[in-house]
């Protein structure tokens, strides 16, 4: 059933009290001065000779941050890592690497070339993630810009124009045009209970017109912003045909497309040149010798004066005694590890749900997208594979690595498939955008985070309802942030209110370090 919205109804909608009216209150934005705080500067007390042994469980970014900072001030750190590699969810895959998905292990077959890599976990760094960026600077990690939105990339939905892919620029230009026309009409309407002064209305109309590239008459009749049908350089440009708004409304994808530069992805995005694991290498250059790989923690006992950790390595059991312990093992795995934590702490660990995420990649035999004016960025599909990412690494070289699917937050569908089914799904989805896709790509890899060994999930989910954190959740969170007996700290983006970002992992570590430092200073004062 579709209901026609009359012009009158529309006007009523936007002038309804509480909406525009509330936002119009003068002087309400004084609190919006940009937050100019700098990255945390830790001023840690040097280690005390009698209690300087540190155990770090998991060589995730937060664990490595702890090792790096505490090593600087004289602590003796040991990092126990269950996997064969450091970095956890920061994982760059290259030729020969093992993708340790339980039940579906793969070895990457990409060509052995510096630009042939795939960031299977973290990929983007917003410029506002200043604590992470401060480490990138300190550790001399070469950064480059990450291209998120690319207007020449495609949008595809079976329901839109018979499934024919259109360029992002066509979708966004026309959608903005039509949205602006609607707004302009409502502002033009004299009957409307005018909340604006003439000057304000004039400014607003200017913004609206320019937002949508409206004509003098405030109507949208297409725009050169979408590029030219022909000409444009040596001859006059010819405007492309307009796509009817009703056609564009066949797809809900505007929700994603118009948000590409908002929120977390609003700031300029960066990435580590050569692969995101360069960040991990920056840390391991300093603390790599402290890591014991293939060392799976199986018990954690907090004592009066320290923490005792039991772990398996090379088929035998080992004990590690430490004065302090920092633990970034995912909460849903920690619940299966023997411990003597207080019950409320265990409840908090059990409360967190594990998130899902799924990515897949192909090696492209040729960089066919560059022949279609695409350099970096994302094509969006309204199908389960959802996204294709074009690499910025290796522009104009023969081959490249394409992201062929990214399902963030709901990767269960592909996770449940066999490897062959997953690949076939991505080929079928991708060839809707690039007709010869199937023949142009090879050597697929898939990364189902829900089944990756020693991870089994993506980001911690604290919130059970869409209406925000409940009081119970807040309490459990703050409880988990506090150390057990002042000796054992849970860390990682799981101990933050903004999981799934590296910045959160770094900040959780910095919080724990500052807390430990403060406790030590109090002890000295006493």
């Amino acid at each position: 059933m579709s209901k026609q919205v009359t012009r009158r109804e529309f006007l009523n909608l936007i002038s309804a009290a509480g909406g525009t009216a509330a936002a119009l209150k003068a002087g309400s934005a004084l609190g919006l001065l940009p937050n100019t705080a700098q990255a945390a500067s830790l001023d840690l007390k040097a280690a005390n000779a009698s209690s300087r042994k540190i155990a770090i469980l998991g060589a995730g970014l937060s664990g490595l941050t702890i090792a790096y900072e505490l090593s600087k001030v004289g602590y003796d750190c040991t990092i126990l890592e269950a996997s064969h590699r450091p970095g956890g969810r920061i994982f760059t895959i290259r030729h020969g690497d093992l993708i340790d998905e339980i039940g579906n292990r793969q070895y990457c077959q990409f060509d052995d070339e510096p630009h042939m890599y795939f960031n299977a976990g973290a990929a983007r760094i917003p410029s506002t993630h200043r604590n992470l960026l401060a480490y990138c600077k300190e550790l001399d990690i070469d950064l480059e810009i990450f291209i998120n939105e690319n207007k020449t990339s495609y949008v595809q939905d079976d329901a839109l124009l018979g499934g024919k892919p259109i360029r992002n620029i066509d979708y966004t230009t026309h959608t903005r045009g039509f949205l602006a026309e609607l707004l302009a009409k409502s502002l033009d309407n004299a009957e409307m209970d005018q909340p604006f002064t003439d000057a304000e209305a004039e400014t607003l109309m200017g913004i609206i017109s320019s937002f949508g590239d409206l004509g003098e008459d405030h109507l949208y009749k297409g725009s050169f912003r979408a590029g030219y049908a022909s000409g444009g350089f040596l001859k006059h440009g010819v405007q492309k045909d307009i796509i009817a708004f009703r056609d564009l409304l066949k797809t809900p994808m505007g929700r994603q497309l118009l948000n590409a530069n908002e929120g977390d992805t609003g700031p300029v995005l960066l990435q580590a040149r050569g692969g995101m694991d360069r960040i991990i290498q920056g840390f391991t250059n300093h603390v790599g010798h402290q890591i014991r790989y293939r060392s799976m923690v199986n018990a954690v006992q907090v004592k009066d004066d320290g923490v005792e950790i039991s772990y398996d390595q090379d088929g035998s059991r080992h004990l590690l005694q430490a004065d302090y312990c920092f633990n970034c093992i995912p909460s849903h795995l920690m619940t299966g590890i023997s411990n003597n934590f207080p019950s409320q702490y265990i409840n908090a660990l059990k409360y967190i749900r594990r998130g899902t995420a799924y990515k897949a990649a192909f090696q492209a035999k040729q960089r066919f997208w560059e022949e279609e004016d695409i350099y970096g960025g994302i094509s969006w599909m309204n199908n389960p594979s959802n996204q294709i990412w074009y690499p910025t690494a290796g522009i104009h070289k023969q081959k490249g690595i394409l992201l062929g699917a990214y399902d963030y937050g709901n990767g269960e569908l592909h996770t449940a498939m066999t490897q062959q089914q997953r690949i076939e799904a991505h080929l079928t989805d991708g060839e809707k955008i690039h007709p010869n896709y199937r023949n142009l790509v090879e050597k697929p890899i898939t990364i189902a985070w829900h089944r990756m060994n020693h991870m089994l999930g993506c980001s911690a989910r604290w919130e059970r309802s869409r209406s925000g954190w409940t009081q119970e959740e807040e309490e459990l969170y703050h409880h988990l942030q506090q150390p057990v007996n002042g000796r054992h700290y849970m860390i990682g983006d799981q101990v933050s209110m903004h999981s799934a970002w590296q910045e959160s992992a770094v900040m959780s570590a910095q919080w724990a370090l500052a807390d430990m430092d403060q406790r030590l200073r109090v002890q000295v004062d006493e």
Partner: protein
């Protein structure tokens, strides 16, 4: 290694050419169970994977074979079974033997109770179960019924609900599951399930 070779050759069929000369690879084996089933196989509520330590070798083998043969963990509503099944899909008979040896090296430690039910009511309900599972829920190999005492209670709840709903034990080749499925109806409803498991929590083998 046979398993690796198999996976490798599948890829070759699917993708045509592969470079035979491979760089040194990270070696792998099939002893990956504890990531989900917890330290020393004591179960992990966080991923809903039950205790394996102390499990009877014959029962462990049968379940692995059932998962491998798509007899268990295939019903679309069997969330946890679906998580487990692919973990067994590629196991060889040799790796199942190896896993059984490995599992039997773990100390049996009964799981902690995590649920509140009415064990007194559960006791009555359990009388019908004892015929097969034993008075102390210690299991009975000749009837094919596993020990229940000491198993994670949250897992027992899931299984009884799954048997009742037909998510487990409905496959035509699952004759042991089918026997159990007919028995579960004596518990009648979720309250019955909760109570009987609360009673099983009081038993020790």
């Amino acid at each position: 290694m046979l398993k690796t070779f198999f996976a490798f050759s599948l890829c070759t069929v699917f993708w045509g050419s592969l470079n035979a000369a491979e760089t040194a690879r990270e070696p792998i084996n099939d002893r990956y169970c504890t990531t989900c089933h917890g330290a020393d196989g004591r179960g992990n509520e966080g991923v809903q994977a039950p205790r394996l330590a102390g499990m009877e070798p014959w029962y462990l083998r049968r379940q692995l074979q059932n998962f491998r043969a798509d007899v268990r963990g295939v019903h679309p509503e069997d969330r946890e079974g679906i998580a487990m099944r692919p973990m067994a899909t590629k196991l060889t008979d040799a790796s199942i033997d190896d896993i059984i040896d490995w599992v039997s090296s773990w100390e049996y430690v009964p799981a902690e109770a995590t649920i509140d039910g009415d064990p007194a009511r559960g006791r009555n309900l359990y009388s019908g179960c004892a015929v097969c599972h034993g008075g102390s829920a210690e299991g009975n190999e000749s009837l094919g019924a596993p020990a229940l005492a000491g198993q994670n209670d949250w897992y027992l709840l899931t299984q009884l609900k799954n048997f009742m709903a037909g998510y487990r034990g409905a496959h035509p080749d699952d004759s042991y599951g089918a026997q159990m499925r007919t028995m579960v109806n004596t518990l009648r409803n979720e309250a019955g399930i909760l109570n009987v498991v609360s009673y099983i929590n009081t038993l020790s083998r």
